[in-house]
């Protein structure tokens, strides 16, 4: 008597399958390409104070500095000159997508090298910038939106938007997602467990000691009222837990499709409010641009039928739509699951997926939903 076994039918992929997919299944690297475009100027702005110092003839070792590890010998100041200037030039190449596989690692090494010359070069925002540069360097971020892509197309005779033009390995994207989300969670959690922070004492004391800045920036007729408000203890008792909750919400909600758009909008608001109230160098710009990594790494998987495709094509940096122009046609969006959206819903789906207009569309949409 023989027994037969049947392979169990597996509809749902296991965790192991999902992990293998992260490493082995190519997907769109377009979001990292968009990030790459913005990182060039961000790096140049970040390096500018160091560049200015070298132009004035000084390097890090001419003033107080602290080595990171005692066993590392003192690095000559000339090395810093080479690092910051090479990094700045490489950053320009990075944005242009010129020899991306070469200039992206160079940019990372130069920025990291300069940071590790002295402990006092460390800032949390600079560490975050290193994460972004590492991901862009590890992924094939020059596949699209780059001079490299243009050169490849000229050689192979393909054109922009051909299937597979933006496919590459995406484990660096997933790694960056984990690191970026953990930054929000680490920051939020550390404040949550600190009674001085979550109770409002830290923000209140800062506001009291910096009230002169508020008075300088706010018009005279309302300056007194604004200062009274921002220095009131009860205001910070309310707003501090909200600030902590925002960070935790971003770090968690950004992982789920149903809450991702809300998390991104909260993150934009969060970073703009930090930019207005604190000096964080390039962090606000870098963090807002980095939100593109949360776009699903597949392209042109929705169809948008529009009467005039000019602006949609210009603004669809992440190639979320297969845009079809039909003069006189009513706007239609065919979603990933085949659902056909028309009218206001189609407009929302379309405009909310275009990075530049998303923050404004999200607000308008939210207001419309709140109002009866």
């Amino acid at each position: 008597m023989s027994a037969t076994t049947t392979e169990p039918v597996r509809d749902e992929p296991t965790l192991s399958d999902r992990i293998d997919d992260v490493f082995d299944r190519p997907a769109s690297v377009r979001s990292l390409a968009v990030l790459r475009l913005a990182l060039g100027p961000v790096v140049v702005v970040h390096l500018w104070p160091f560049l200015a110092d070298t132009l004035a003839g000084t390097t890090y070792e001419d003033h107080f500095w602290v080595r990171w590890w005692g066993f590392v010998p003192e690095v000559p100041g000339a090395v810093q000159v080479a690092l910051v200037w090479t990094g700045a030039v490489a950053a320009v190449g990075l944005s242009l997508g010129w020899r991306t596989r070469l200039v992206a690692p160079i940019t990372f090494v130069c920025v990291a090298g300069n940071l590790f010359l002295s402990q006092h070069h460390f800032r949390h925002n600079r560490a975050f910038l290193l994460f972004l540069l590492a991901a862009v360097a590890l992924a094939d971020s020059g596949r699209v939106l780059s001079l490299d892509a243009r050169r490849r197309r000229a050689r192979t005779g393909t054109s922009p938007g051909d299937p597979g033009d933006d496919l590459g390995t995406v484990w660096p994207l997933w790694l960056l997602r984990i690191l970026a989300a953990s930054v929000y969670l680490a920051s939020g959690f550390s404040k949550l467990i600190d009674p001085d922070w979550s109770g409002g004492l830290v923000l209140w004391d800062r506001a009291v000691r910096h009230q002169h800045l508020v008075r300088e920036r706010v018009p005279e007729p309302i300056a007194d009222a604004v200062v009274d408000l921002v220095t009131a203890r009860w205001v910070h008792t309310i707003t501090s837990p909200i600030a902590v909750a925002m960070e935790l919400f971003i770090g968690i909600a950004i992982w789920f499709g149903r809450t991702r758009l809300a998390a991104i909008w909260v993150a934009i608001f969060f970073h703009l409010s930090i930019e207005l109230s604190a000096s964080v160098e390039v962090f606000s710009l870098a963090a807002i641009v980095a939100l593109v990594i949360w776009a699903t790494p597949s392209t042109r998987d929705r169809v948008a039928v529009v009467p005039d495709a000019t602006w949609v094509r210009r603004l669809d940096w992440l190639a979320r739509f297969d845009v079809r122009e039909e003069p006189g046609a009513e706007l239609r969006v065919i979603d990933r699951d085949g659902t056909v959206h028309t009218g206001g819903t189609a407009r929302w789906v379309l405009w909310s997926r275009l990075p530049l207009v998303f923050p404004f569309v999200a607000v308008a949409h939210a207001l419309r939903r709140v109002r009866p």
Partner: protein, 179 residues
């Protein structure tokens, strides 16, 4: 979707190709040598574990390097720094210094300049005072024209999130030049 040949993909290395099959129907997968696949997975694991260690370590590290705890305090501090000479005099750093040295010029970092003024504790009290301690040693070691100062001493007055004062004394290493 056609498999992408490595030769047509200038960004791909020679050993990494896309191949159909392996995964869901109609999909394609990146084919790597086994050693490289393990290397990639190992690299990611090391990065994530290292990141987690640094996040946790931040709770014990005054500098909170790579722990992502920004704006963690609203503490303040100031310091009276003196040069203690070989003959026992205590000379404030604001007074003339042999060799014409100037504290602000030597440190040239806003966090530690004008130490006598009460200021916000950059990145927390632990960070600021630890850097002040390092700066005392650095300055003691980078003022070769000063042949009278035996060591530098800072007496700090700090308020941790409005509570205090906490008073501490920091000293630099002894200087050979004044011995």
């Amino acid at each position: 979707m056609p498999a992408r040949a490595a030769a047509d993909a200038p960004h791909s290395s020679g050993v990494e190709q896309h191949a159909p099959g392996a995964g869901a129907a109609g999909s394609e997968r990146i084919v790597r040598p086994r050693w490289r696949a393990r290397l990639v997975r190992g690299f990611v694991a090391v990065v994530l574990v290292g990141h987690a260690v640094l996040l946790v370590r931040g709770y014990a590290d005054p500098h909170k390097f790579f722990a992502f705890q920004p704006f963690n305090e609203s503490s303040t501090w100031r310091a009276d720094i003196v040069r203690v000479t070989a003959d026992g005099r205590r000379v404030p750093i604001e007074e003339p210094w042999p060799g014409g040295y100037d504290w602000d010029e030597l440190v040239r970092w806003g966090v530690l300049e004008r130490p006598g003024t009460m200021r916000h504790a950059y990145s927390g009290l632990g960070t600021s005072l630890d850097f002040l301690d390092d700066a005392l040693d650095w300055v003691a070691d980078h003022t070769p024209e000063d042949d009278e100062t035996l060591y530098l001493e800072a007496t700090t007055e700090a308020y941790r999130n409005t509570r205090g004062p906490e008073v501490r004394v920091y000293r630099s290493e002894l200087r050979e030049e004044a011995r």
